[in-house]
């Protein structure tokens, strides 16, 4: 076996670990040792402001917990300082006297806050804002003291000041220039920012140079060069950072302000690299996070032997992380004679936008108040995009009322969760889109997991695609197959099954040239359904192509146990059935018996091997609570007992349930039947909702109370029970024949249109008869009651549910 490359990383911060993570994605050919000065695992320093304002805890901002290092096979030394890289002996020397040999070294020692070299800077109560310890000290100080000063009106200073205000301190920001954030903002935006922050309780002393920190052992105030003083019991210095270069100096590497690196992140010594805030690249030391990722990417590729473009410096973008203040700047932001600026200042809305053009190329921008266009502008600056009439209209909202389209996803913060099921943030999606060149919803789904579970976030993900790709994205524009195995649509497949007479999933996949020979968990159940729908008499259902629940005839729970829901036609049961349910539940020791939302009883937590016995002893039919089939028919008491009732809803409910149960539908189907318009059984949220009134029934379709709530539409009114059953059959068969697999009636109605359904199933009497005939054919060839089938087939029972135990 090839010997692994010994890689030593000095510094356990974001830069070093990001480079390591990027490297590990490319290769596993390195043995990695990490030497970190801080006693804890690495954390996201950018989030310190959130820790300070209390919206996040230390645990929230840990990037890689200790277990990650173990799992990744990384040797981690915390609380240890590397003092020198001995480039002749090729070892890293540590302060505890130990040495580690290396093939490659990454120096990622970061930076420290710059402490102004003024008298009194060493007094108690004077700190920088850089680490978790600083956060702790600030929170401590807020409990004991009242008056604080923050020296530095840059990004970090303002975030620290806001944090201290939130902790209840009286805070003055002291700043040498005349306006805030002069390295990121122009004066106009800075003034607007100051006004907003003053409203939030910050005070400012601008144009003030701190000459001395006064007081005894502990700081008591600041004296400025103009002779004035400011009282302060606690001082935070946030005047900038200084790259940590001591180790590099001791190792005799080339150092200016930072450790000098070339376009491939190499230092002056062979096999020694440096990344992040400790470096100086083309004369620039960066203090922001984006360059660190970009340098890390080039470095990782270099180490992994993957071809890489050189690093040519970063365009820096800034966003201030203070709640209620939206400021953004990217690239050039100051007007110089060779620049042309597009500016909008809306004093009423409190927004400001400036786009800086250099030779008509978008070179930078400043936004205040509304930063919707931030990511777009950042992208344009990075691309060096030229300003066009079109782009101008887009960016300024000019050219008509619809200049800018509302895009809710654009307003999300980077770490806002887009997909709540799988915990996918906006940033993860945007990164996947930009870094891997994704262009479709399905690609994003496959790559990030977003919208893979409930699908509720699909519109948001599409908006993000739109947002990132701009005009390059067309929702549903490119041809999408029903899954990754094919490019054919549902309609094309169904047509091919009919025309070519395909009779099994295997045949479909062979003839239609499936990419994965035996399909996947998406297409197999779908094809199984289409085949059964098209060839009701002859198709042999494939158990192995059914979802677990439909195969086992019970709903699997997260611990691998199952739930059992017996049929109770129309929501009616008997004392004898209730007693059986109670007896079985006791005998099999189920942890929970629960009422369902559909007027039935759910026996929860049955072991797989007990399922056949439970069914046998219940001796009731399956309620199909697991199936893409008719689930429940909810009824009210109706004319039989209710004083308002006009129709026999219980009787009709039970009749419909018996008639339409036990065949496959594209998705689950729920009914409700009501005896009067009071609608106690809630027809409006059911696939088929029936409302009785004096002299007839109303039929509603396409209701849904689930993921996407939708009120049912009135399809028609009928006078007789026969008409009711006939039209219901026609609607259900039309749904079976035209809906996509897994498409609920609510989506189906919206897709093909209520009017069309009305024409086909109500107006066209001949067509309706044919639909009903096909429904009857399906109903007449339906399978045996599934629980009975298992109970009576010993072989099936053993093979599917039996538990085999070996003990040695």
């Amino acid at each position: 076996m090839k010997r692994k490359l010994q890689l030593v990383v000095i510094g356990n911060g974001m830069a070093g670990m990001n480079a390591v993570e990027q490297l590990m994605k490319l290769t596993d050919s390195c043995d990695i040792t990490v030497i970190g000065q801080e006693p804890h695992p690495n954390y996201n320093r950018i989030m310190l402001s959130y820790v300070l304002d209390g919206s996040k805890t230390m645990d929230d901002i840990v990037i890689n917990p200790r277990a990650w290092y173990d799992e990744a096979g990384i040797t981690l030394h915390t609380g240890t300082t590397a003092t020198r890289v001995d480039t002749t002996r090729r070892v890293v020397v540590m302060d505890n006297g130990h040495e580690v040999g290396y093939d490659r070294v990454i120096i990622a020692t970061g930076s420290t806050p710059f402490i102004l070299p003024v008298p009194g800077a060493d007094k108690q109560g004077v700190i920088g804002f850089r680490s978790i310890e600083d956060c702790d000290r600030m929170m401590e100080a807020a409990k004991l003291y009242k008056k604080a000063a923050v020296i530095g009106g840059g990004l970090l200073g303002l975030e620290a000041a806001k944090g201290l205000v939130q902790l209840g301190m009286d805070v003055t920001v002291v700043h040498l220039p005349d306006f805030l954030m002069e390295r990121q903002l122009d004066e106009k935006a800075a003034r607007m920012l100051q006004t907003e922050l003053e409203r939030q309780g910050l005070k400012f002393a601008l144009g003030k140079q701190t000459q001395e920190l006064i007081g005894g052992e502990r700081v008591e105030g600041l004296r400025f060069s103009d002779g004035t003083e400011l009282e302060a019991e606690f001082v935070v210095m946030a005047v900038g950072i200084r790259p940590n270069v001591e180790l590099a100096r001791a190792s005799e590497l080339a150092v200016n302000r930072g450790i000098v690196v070339d376009d491939y992140i190499r230092t002056s010594a062979p096999d020694v690299y440096a990344v992040g805030e400790c470096t100086e690249h083309r004369g620039v030391c960066y203090g922001l996070v984006a360059p660190l990722f970009e340098q890390g990417a080039v470095l990782a590729k270099g180490l992994a032997g993957v071809e890489t473009k050189p690093y040519e410096g970063s365009v820096c973008s800034t966003k201030l992380k203070v709640s209620g203040v939206d400021v953004f700047s990217t690239g050039l932001f100051l007007e110089t004679p060779e620049c042309v600026c597009v500016t909008f200042h809306d004093a009423w809305k409190g927004t400001y936008k400036k786009i800086v053009l250099k030779d008509n190329v978008i070179a930078g921008a400043v936004l205040f108040g509304n930063i919707d266009d931030a990511s777009k502008l950042e992208r344009l600056v990075k691309q060096g995009a030229e300003m066009t009439e079109e782009l101008y209209n887009e960016l300024t909202g000019a050219g008509g009322c619809c200049g800018t389209k509302a895009n809710a996803a654009a307003d999300f913060a980077d770490d806002d969760i887009v997909c709540g099921c799988n915990g996918v943030t906006k940033k993860m999606i945007v990164d996947a889109i930009t870094e891997q060149g994704l262009t479709t919803l399905d690609e994003v789904k496959a790559c990030t997991g977003a919208s893979r579970s409930c699908g509720g976030c699909k519109p948001l993900v599409e908006q993000l695609l739109q947002h990132v790709l701009g005009d390059g994205f067309e929702a549903g524009g490119s041809k999408q197959g029903i899954c990754g195995c094919t490019t054919m649509s549902r309609d094309e497949i169904v047509a091919a099954i009919r025309e070519k007479g395909l009779r099994s999933t295997k045949e479909i996949m062979n003839v239609l040239d499936w990419k994965q020979e035996e399909g996947c968990s998406k297409c197999r159940p779908a094809l199984n359904y289409y085949l059964g729908m098209i060839w009701p008499q002859t198709y042999q259902d494939e158990k192995e192509s059914r979802f677990v629940n439909e195969r086992m005839n019970a709903n699997i729970q997260k611990d691998g146990t199952y739930t059992v829901v017996p049929r109770m036609y129309g929501g009616m049961t008997t004392p004898a059935e209730l007693k059986k349910i109670a007896d079985v539940s006791l005998k099999y020791n189920v942890p929970l018996v629960k009422m369902t939302g559909g007027q039935r009883i759910d026996i929860v937590g049955v072991k797989k091997e007990d399922l056949p016995s439970v069914w046998e002893e219940l001796d009731m039919p399956s309620g199909y609570a697991y199936a893409k089939s008719l689930r429940t028919v909810k009824t009210c008491v109706g004319a039989t007992y209710c004083r308002f009732g006009t129709q026999d809803s219980m009787g009709m409910g039970a009749l419909l349930e018996r008639k339409f149960e036990r065949i496959d539908y594209p998705a689950k189907v729920k009914f409700a039947v009501n005896g009067c318009p009071r609608n106690c059984a809630e027809s409006c949220t059911k696939d088929i909702g029936i409302v009785g009134n004096d002299g007839g029934w109303e039929i509603y379709i396409g209701g849904n109370g689930g993921i996407k709530a939708r009120l049912a539409d009135l399809l028609c009114k009928v006078k007789t029970d026969e008409e009711l059953i006939e039209i219901t059959a026609a609607v259900l068969q039309h749904y079976r024949e035209t809906a996509n697999y897994l498409e609920r009636t609510s989506d189906w109605v919206e897709r093909i249109g209520l009017e069309h359904i009305h024409k086909t199933t109500v107006e066209d009497a001949e067509g309706r008869k044919q639909l009903v005939a096909r429904m009857d054919e399906a109903l007449s060839s339906r399978s045996e009651e599934p629980w009975q089938q298992v109970i009576s087939d010993k072989g099936l029972r053993d093979k599917m549910f039996g538990k085999v135990v070996f003990q040695q």
């Binding site: 997991g449 996947c520 968990s521 997260k558 797989k608 085999v804 135990v805 040695q808």
Partner: protein, 106 residues
């Protein structure tokens, strides 16, 4: 491997329905056995997904298994989870001799 693997006979090939998993409890470890068109595979009946759950009820395609609860795609040959997800389930060696299925246990 320090210890010699022990082969346990778990049944005839026909005891396993094609592409439908079956659980065998061997020395307290739940093993899900799948007979595919290619071979017989044995994998620990525990999803590598952080939320766990069984694997035996997944949909089988070739030598891949789709996790029934989370739809992760897992290679039955080595237990490796396919991208974009990551992880690995424990697998066991399987031998088929004269129609009998044997699983290697430690």
């Amino acid at each position: 491997m320090n210890r010699e693997a022990a082969w346990v006979a778990v049944g005839k090939q026909d005891d396993f329905m094609p592409r439908v998993g079956r659980v065998i409890l061997i020395n307290g470890v739940e093993v899900a056995v799948f007979r595919t068109t290619e071979a017989v595979y044995a994998i620990e009946n525990r999803s590598p997904h952080p939320k766990g759950g069984p694997l035996s009820e997944g949909i089988v395609s070739g030598h891949y298994l789709y996790d029934p609860l989370h739809d992760w795609k897992i290679d039955l040959r080595d237990g490796c989870v396919q991208a974009p997800d990551t992880g690995q389930a424990r697998t066991f060696a399987v031998r088929v001799e004269e129609d009998s299925v044997y699983i290697a246990v430690m």
